[in-house]
């Protein structure tokens, strides 16, 4: 149901996530942003239990900011990923967070990177990663079309291919997706892919 995927390009990393907030059979909203901007050059795309997702990613975001305030320099992507894994691992045997994370970042020295972090705190640096039922389709598409050193156009084209595949082949396919990108100029929203727009709310 919840689809999150991402890949690393030549000098950027891109992540895409569906934007539906679902409880059982009801779609609460279809423009829920599941990709948080962690700091100027990091993105955290999270999927899983809604309360845990928001709570945990905000906790990570605030701690990353705290590190920067205390030490005067930002964390590297690898450090942020390892910190996130540590928090998930510590909570695992007490009060686990059911959140799967793709952490994308850009560092001046090492370039773009993408980290796959499972809800049971398995950490691995990857070139392409995905979570959820959509991963069966997006990983297959990326395995076929991905190559290292892709340009932004090629990568977004691949992301669109994955979205089309998910939309056509997944039975409860989410209608809308958000795509965010991180490169030397920072982390930012790239585009939305909407096939169902929320009805406008009449003003009171």
């Amino acid at each position: 149901m919840e689809c999150v995927f991402g890949l690393v390009g030549h000098d950027f990393a891109v992540v895409a996530a569906d934007t539906s907030a679902v409880h059982s059979i009801l779609v609460h909203k279809s423009n829920e942003d599941k990709i948080m901007i962690l700091d100027s050059h990091k993105l955290i795309a999270a999927s899983g239990e809604s309360g845990d997702r928001v709570q945990f990613t905000e906790y990570i975001q605030k701690n990353v900011a705290l590190y920067q305030f205390r030490n005067g320099i930002p964390l590297t992507t690898a450090a942020a990923a390892n910190f996130t894994r540590g928090e998930l691992a510590t909570a695992l045997r007490k009060n686990p967070y059911f959140v799967n994370i793709l952490l994308a970042g850009y560092d001046k020295e090492t370039g773009p990177s993408l980290y796959y972090i499972d809800y049971i705190a398995t950490l691995h640096k990857v070139d392409k990663g995905a979570f959820g039922y959509g991963s069966y389709f997006s990983l297959a598409m990326m395995d076929r079309h991905y190559h290292s050193g892709m340009t932004v156009e090629e990568a977004i084209d691949l992301v669109d291919k994955c979205i089309m595949e998910i939309r056509s082949r997944l039975v409860v396919a989410p209608p809308n997706f958000v795509i965010k990108i991180v490169d030397k100029d920072g982390a930012r929203e790239y585009a939305w892919r909407e096939s169902v727009k929320d009805a406008a709310v009449a003003s009171a």
Partner: protein, 204 residues
């Protein structure tokens, strides 16, 4: 599915003439899905002790971090590296600490002890040590590995022949196990050098 089979793994260590070899597969999976094909299961504790961790990847990562921490403390206090026998005892003690809430890992420890005598051992998830003079195996492919090693092993093999034997045993065993494979990682350690080699087997 057992928690030990969640990520999939295969590990083997073999003794040669004044040398040892430790090898692992490279697959990181989540049950039936493959996430990565470059996962590192074997880590160097110091130049003469190597640790391989099979089983649940998150616990393997946590356990590795704890063991490196303990070894670094040991180095600071004793001003020397740990002997492999001592390290094995440390791993066993740390695993038994969690007797009623264990780490779901099966470690394989291989090292060169006093007078360059090779040492290998494995243990279960609660620290029951199993010393062997010839070979030890762990992981989802362990049954196949037992058979392959038993038939291919010879006493006092030189490093080159040991590498061939370990590689053939590993690849033939993981080919019969759907949860492990995607290549191999072999370390052959002699008193003078460490040779790390990547194997390409059936990539499925």
């Amino acid at each position: 599915m057992s928690i030990f089979e969640y990520n999939g793994s295969a590990l083997v260590a073999m003794v040669g003439k004044n040398c040892f070899a430790i090898a692992s597969d490279r697959r990181l999976g989540v049950q039936l899905q493959t996430i990565a094909t470059d996962f590192q299961r074997i880590s160097k504790i110091h130049d003469r002790v190597f640790l391989g961790l099979s089983g649940l990847a998150t616990d393997a990562q946590t356990l590795y971090q704890r063991l490196v921490f303990r070894h670094k403390l040991y180095q600071l206090r004793e001003e020397r590296d740990m002997k492999p026998e001592t390290f094995a005892n440390l791993v066993s003690a740390i695993l038994y600490e969690k007797r009623f809430g264990p780490y779901f890992c099966q470690p394989v420890i291989a090292g060169l002890g006093d007078e360059d005598k090779p040492f290998i051992c494995t243990m279960d998830s609660i620290g029951a040590k199993e010393l062997a003079k010839d070979f030890v195996v762990a992981g989802t492919a362990s049954e196949s590995l037992y058979g392959a090693c038993e038939s291919m092993f010879k006493q006092d093999m030189e490093p080159e022949e040991l590498f061939e034997t370990v590689s053939q045993a590993l690849l033939s065993s993981v080919d019969r196990d759907c949860l492990s494979g995607w290549g191999g990682h072999v370390y052959v350690v002699t008193p003078t050098e460490v040779k790390e080699r990547i194997l390409k087997g059936r990539m499925d």
